[in-house]
């Protein structure tokens, strides 16, 4: 039971991280720096609780804010570049953060930062955060800023001509993504009780991309689903021991061939929404999702 709880908790933190990647991704910014932001949040909140005795919740929030501020500063040069170049810039950023933390003795350097107070209700806090994020992303989907984010992600120039301030939108999305990653880092640090720079290497950032693409990039349920399933699957595959990671890899390859748009696509969400509406006979208001019967 304890083992299962810990796996599910880590899955919750991974969901938070995947969503932190997804927000800037919506605006067309692919970031490999989320692990870097996570470590900033983790270290900042750990310093708050260990060195200054600040309680858990404000400490985690401070971690998020520190990460968001760094995200804002990094977001400025990142605005000018796209695609593979932005990937490289954020990759470099993640590595720099790691090396910097290795060389700061105040927070333990390469030996790591021990003695962080353990938060026994991490499961609750992690999924509480996930719940807040679900509400946020769901509201975002049908709001002014959400439409702007999607528009910027699809066609930046057309969005700008329409009156969308793309600099503001991209910068907001990037630093909010950093904030979410920082929160994830803070929760992670107070669950592990011990953090070291090596925990936040680039592979962790790559994992977030895998979660998102596996789950589906069209809607935020994709990264949530992807993070949850892909965290649990390797654990359940433990019975086949050393073949575990091979099967995991094969699963990803198969998945890309069979369903490249990801497990959860917009279509599936619409079908579910439509079914729910029919089931409860809800009269819809607002922006409807397209249904099979309308206009065809």
């Amino acid at each position: 039971m304890d083992y299962l709880t810990s796996v599910v908790t880590i899955a919750g933190i991974n969901i938070i991280m995947a969503l932190s990647f997804y927000l800037p991704f919506m605006t067309g910014q692919i970031s490999l720096g989320q692990a870097g932001f996570m470590s900033i949040g983790a270290y900042a909140s750990a310093v708050c609780t260990v060195k200054f005795g600040i309680p858990y919740v404000p400490a985690v929030l401070i971690g998020g804010i520190c990460s968001a501020m760094v995200g804002f500063v990094l977001g400025l040069p990142a605005l000018r570049i796209k695609g593979i170049y932005l990937l490289l810039l954020t990759l470099g950023f993640g590595e720099i953060v790691r090396v910097v933390f290795i060389n700061i003795d105040y927070i333990g350097g390469a030996a790591g930062f021990p003695g962080i107070p353990y938060q026994e209700h991490t499961l609750l806090y992690a999924y509480g955060m996930v719940l807040i994020l679900i509400v946020f992303f769901n509201r975002l989907r049908k709001s002014r800023m959400g439409r702007a984010c999607q528009a910027v992600g699809t066609d930046e120039d057309a969005a700008e001509v329409l009156g969308v301030n793309i600099i503001a939108v991209k910068l907001t999305a990037f630093s909010t993504g950093a904030f979410i990653a920082g929160i994830g880092g803070g929760i992670f640090a107070h669950y592990q009780e011990y953090i070291e720079p090596l925990m936040f290497d680039v592979m962790h950032a790559v994992e977030l991309i895998v979660f998102t693409i596996f789950g589906g990039i069209q809607i935020f349920w994709g990264p949530i689903f992807g993070a949850f399933v892909l965290t649990l699957v390797p654990e359940f595959l433990r019975i086949i021991q050393e073949w575990r990671m091979e099967l995991y890899g094969a699963l990803l390859v198969l998945m890309m061939i069979v369903r490249p748009q990801g497990i959860i696509s917009l279509d599936s969400v619409w079908s579910i929404e439509y079914a729910v509406r029919r089931l409860f006979r809800i009269k819809t208001t607002g922006v409807l999702s397209p249904s099979r019967t309308e206009g065809k």
Binding site: T154, V161, T176, G295
Partner: protein
């Protein structure tokens, strides 16, 4: 005068796309720009809407110089455009596409999206939706509001783009070849739509290759050829202008 362009020059790596072009667009007119392919018409639109920077020269909107403004700032001032190749946002439905036009007139940010501090956010969303719906009805495709934009036939996608531009509540509209790829019936409908928009008090700047349409509805026509303006005047004058005939048909032997 709503738009005044003075001696603008646009280079692309040494290639001169527009050479000393000047243009004056009067309030409430329907002003057409014609010219053979590659004459620089779309480049001119891109300079006005801010997608390109001018190399030299001045663009003024209602006497205010707008050279330095970003495209979204120009949109806020009241300039809207459509594109030669339709640029709708694929994964969004028609209504959402049109709702984006209200972006610069509304305020709700990320924090307010999450917390909905007051009822203002919901009200703003509602007015945005009603406004978008009104324009969809105006162009005549309200019944397609919930369809995904890219699934619509070409002519209807153009109408969505026009509705989207209109929902910005602009004073100056730039239409870049709106009739391209439309059949005769659709073109006639489009023609009356453009006239209707103009009669609502909006200034229309129109690039179009369909001469019938241009000659019928425009008040003033400017002709571009090889990046220079070669003629300007009423439709009847343009039809007689020897320089224009030469640009389109070649010189008489």
């Amino acid at each position: 005068m709503i738009l005044e362009i003075k001696n603008i020059i646009k280079y692309f790596n040494g290639f001169c796309a527009l050479m000393n072009v000047g243009l004056e667009v009067e309030e409430n007119t329907l002003h057409a720009i014609i010219g053979p392919n590659g004459a620089g018409k779309t480049t001119l639109f891109n300079l006005i809407s801010g997608m390109y920077d001018v190399s030299e020269g001045q663009i003024a909107f209602r006497k205010k110089p707008i050279n330095e403004l970003r495209p979204h700032q120009r949109a806020e001032l009241g300039i809207a455009r459509t594109f030669q190749i339709v640029r709708l946002f694929g994964h969004m439905n028609v209504l959402e596409n049109v709702m984006l036009g209200s972006h610069c007139k509304t305020k709700t940010g990320l924090l307010r999206t999450l917390f909905r501090i007051s009822l203002r956010e919901l009200k703003e969303e509602k007015t945005t939706r009603e406004n978008a719906m009104r324009w969809l009805e105006f162009v005549g495709i309200a019944q397609k509001a919930n369809q995904i934009a890219v699934n619509l036939p070409h002519a209807e996608q153009r109408l969505v783009e026009i509705a989207r531009a209109l929902s910005q509540d602009p004073d100056l509209l730039l239409f870049d070849e709106p009739a391209a790829g439309m059949n005769p019936k659709e073109t006639v409908d489009l023609e009356s739509l453009i006239v209707k928009i103009n009669q609502m008090g909006k200034t229309v700047l129109l690039i179009e290759h369909n001469m019938e349409l241009v000659m019928e509805i425009s008040h003033v026509i400017s002709v571009l050829n090889f990046g220079a303006k070669i003629a300007e005047g009423k439709p009847s004058e343009i039809q007689q202008n020897p320089a224009v005939i030469e640009a389109y048909l070649g010189r008489k032997r």
